[in-house]
């Protein structure tokens, strides 16, 4: 379920010490950068394949792996279609959860700026049945920040056997 805010999100701009540790290959922050991959419209297929492989390797159950793959795809697709047209995915494991961060260096999608520092996830245009709505449905946590430099969206998937929010049958 959403809202298991055990710790601050490491992906927040200006608070990226954990990610910096991971990028430097340091283990003491308990975070390990598993994947760092640029993408554009021509490489979404490769991005999905890489995310799937790493999620399986991290021990995510099959149905949650499918959820993670579609969540990352929809965030990346959003960057391709409504943002810069390209972006970068970083994925790391921390405290038994997989974090996937999609950066889009383009200008923020549409107006809805929630002001500096706030999580804009609640202001995104979550139309029922649309990609971002689905991301919010399947991810354990979602955060979105945008600024002049672009948009950073992060989803967190617990790798435990936590039941997912899924179809009623």
């Amino acid at each position: 379920m959403k809202g298991n805010d055990r710790r601050p999100d490491p992906a927040r701009p200006g608070d990226s010490a954990v990610l910096a540790d991971a990028e430097a290959g340091r283990e003491d922050g308990e975070a390990r950068l598993a994947l760092d991959q640029a993408f554009d419209s021509g490489t979404l297929y490769a991005l999905r394949a890489a995310v799937q492989a790493h999620a399986i390797q991290a021990g995510l159950p099959e149905s949650r792996t499918d959820d993670l793959v579609i969540a990352v795809h929809e965030l990346a697709a959003n960057a391709v279609r409504h943002g810069a047209g390209a972006g970068r995915l970083r994925m790391w494991e921390r405290d038994g959860a997989l974090h996937c961060q999609v950066d889009d260096s383009g200008s923020p999608a549409s107006g809805g700026d929630a002001g500096p520092g706030g999580n804009e996830a609640d202001c995104w245009p979550f139309l029922p049945g649309h990609g971002l709505w689905l991301v919010r449905l399947v991810a354990d946590q979602i955060s979105v920040f945008s600024g002049p430099g672009g948009t950073r969206a992060t989803v967190v998937f617990s790798s435990g056997e936590e039941p997912s929010v899924s179809a009623p049958d």
Partner: protein
Amino acid sequence: MVSIEGGAAVPVSAYTQVTELSPDAHACLTFGAPDDLLDLTAAFVRDGLAGGFRVVVLSDSPQLAAAKLGWREVAAEAAVAAGQMVMVASQDGLVGPQGFSAGQAIGWLRDQLADSRRQGYAGIRVALDMSWALRPMTGIEELPVLEEEIAAAVSGAGMSVLCGYDRERFDPVTLALIAPFHSHAVAAATYYDDPVLRICRQYVPPGIRLAGEMDFLAAEALALALGEAIRIDGDITVNMASLSFIDASSIRMITDAAASLDPSRTVILRCPPAIEARFAQLGADRLPQVSLVGVDEG
């Protein structure tokens, strides 16, 4: 007729629709996926049975072919029981115990024609899965001779023959040698085809088939395929049995197309369990027009 932007577009205009073959056609069906061979054969068989023709289907595995035709709503087993249709193994038809010879093979085919006339049928349709010719065997160099003989045999005889060649497995030289002896080229109408995704028409049951991974990049091709499919009367099938990924925008496009139909019509969505769950998650199962059918095959 079918034009696509991006990906690998496939011109269909050079091909004859399998449903429009003349009663003495000698058609060359080239296919890239086994499902295509089965689907086009199913349409050829279905129309033959409906037209009161005798139907002969030759393949390496007649039992498997009968079961798969049955799944495609062609009552193969009933037609076989009634004597209107025969399922023949390759080695009992075109290939003899001593290997292949064009003379022996054409003899078998002429016997089929004579049998159908004796039994009072208006004509005969013969579907030949040519994959037997991929096996090393003596006499196989006579394959073009057989095709030339078939061309002569069908002429004015009330016999149509559909020869199925796997274009991935037969070498281009062989295909170039045998193609000119055919009166028609037949292939599945394809809307999109690249290494990641294939969207094509499904003839039996009518609808479309998606294989691989479907996302918004092929939205235009999917819209075209759905648009053509829903213009057919009655129920349509979106066969996703070989689809491993589909994104939210594509799911929405399919459910929007279903929702636009009269509630008396049904859109059958055949999908693997994970994709079935995704459609349900996005509310497709609440539409009166949608029937979600899970399939196990990957």
